[in-house]
């Protein structure tokens, strides 16, 4: 419903600066987001890819009217960077496939949060802190050795403290905030992004933490590896999702996965280490100062809080 209206070309930049926007034209008549215009010259790969499509001769004509209306509504809008799958960039069938498990687990997560609030009201502040930790970390776009930027997810801390389910909800809140206000990720890709960041991430973190505790690994090491691997595998999942939706014409799924993996997952390695370290910092503080609250948490009762 909303999407129909948004299909139209809607980048007012196209009216303001026709020369600049030329490289964003797409054969379909949809103007691609002029993300790269913002601060710096666009990355080379981008330029060539866009030049290629622009070269095929698509010129915006049929959506002119809509463009004018939308331009009036949002003069000068520029889309944001996003480390999640961009709005509209997942074919509808795939969007639906990822949305289904995400919706189901979101509902389980919501009832889990309600149960925590009921049984363990003292842990409310900790739960808020876990969500806020996600907010902070996913707002920090950090440079990586690959020469591009990405951000940590912050879901590992909450997953270790509360188990993975509540983090499905908290992670989804962060993703909605970014999709709604920052054009970062999107609503059509929300299911896929929730699946990678708020499901794969927390479940991996929780599983790694529990597994390492059973193996009697020291808590800070377990926390570090849990958070770092949860972060890294979030972006491996994103790469898998994109590779499944866009198998390479010649190399198939594998070639595509390597391509997306080298973009997302490789960039993420140093960030995953940072996230692991920051999570240890936060966890140490909580274990030190909020031991009472920790003791009552279901996620920790079997392995002990220290």
């Amino acid at each position: 419903m909303v999407f129909a209206a948004r299909k139209a070309c809607r980048h007012p930049r196209s009216l303001k600066a026709p020369a600049q926007v030329a490289r964003h034209l797409h054969p379909s008549g949809v103007v691609l987001p002029p993300r790269v215009l913002k601060n710096s010259p666009p990355p080379r790969r981008n330029l060539t890819a866009r030049a290629k499509v622009a070269g095929k001769g698509g010129i915006v004509t049929h959506h002119k009217k809509a463009a004018v209306i939308l331009a009036a509504l949002a003069a000068g809008a520029v889309p944001a960077y996003s480390m999640h799958i961009m709005e509209g960039f997942l074919p509808p069938a795939w969007a639906a496939i990822w949305a289904l498990p995400s919706i189901a687990l979101f509902l389980f997560g919501a009832s889990r949060i309600a149960a925590i609030m009921r049984e363990n009201p003292k842990a409310k502040l900790l739960l808020a802190m876990a969500g806020a930790f996600c907010f902070v970390l996913s707002a920090l776009k950090i440079p990586s050795v690959t020469g591009s930027c990405s951000h940590p997810t912050g879901v590992g801390l909450g997953a270790i403290l509360f188990g993975p389910l509540p983090m499905v909800v908290l992670g989804a809140i962060v993703l909605v905030f970014q999709a709604l206000l920052l054009a970062h990720g999107g609503f059509t890709t929300l299911g896929a992004n929730v699946f990678s960041m708020a499901i794969v991430g927390p479940f991996v973190s929780y599983g790694v933490y529990k597994g390492l505790k059973i193996l009697k690994v020291k808590t800070p090491v377990a926390v570090f590896l849990a958070a770092a691997l949860g972060d890294l595998l979030t972006y491996v999942a994103t790469s898998l999702q994109l590779a499944a939706a866009y198998p390479d014409p010649s190399g198939g799924f594998g070639a595509s996965f390597i391509k997306f993996g080298s973009i997302f997952a490789l960039t993420q390695i140093p960030l995953a280490i940072s996230e692991g370290l920051l999570t240890v910092l936060a966890f140490n503080f909580i274990a030190d100062k909020a031991a009472d609250e920790l003791a009552g948490l279901p996620a920790l009762e079997k392995v002990g809080s220290r």
Partner: protein, 106 residues
Amino acid sequence: MNGKKRSVSNILIVLAVIVLAGSPLLIAKGAEFGGADDAAEAAILEIRPDYHPWAASILEPASGEIESLLFALQAALGAGVVFFGVGYYTGRARKEAVGQTADVRR
């Protein structure tokens, strides 16, 4: 871990994060440091040049400045809640410690 040892390790952790975040600027000199998603978008169009996004974002930050405002707001909201908790628990732990010493004196 005692308090002093812990604060040393905390400082080391913070330093390590700063080095990890800062060193790419020196290692990958001259790189664009754009978003990883931009590279992904280009890769999608390489694989499927005929693909066109079927939806666009509802709201887009009106400029790079507004975008950084919103990101700063997101970080500030998160940091506010996190450090409210940090202050609360620190204060509570201190109060408990004072209460215990008072008990001992009595």
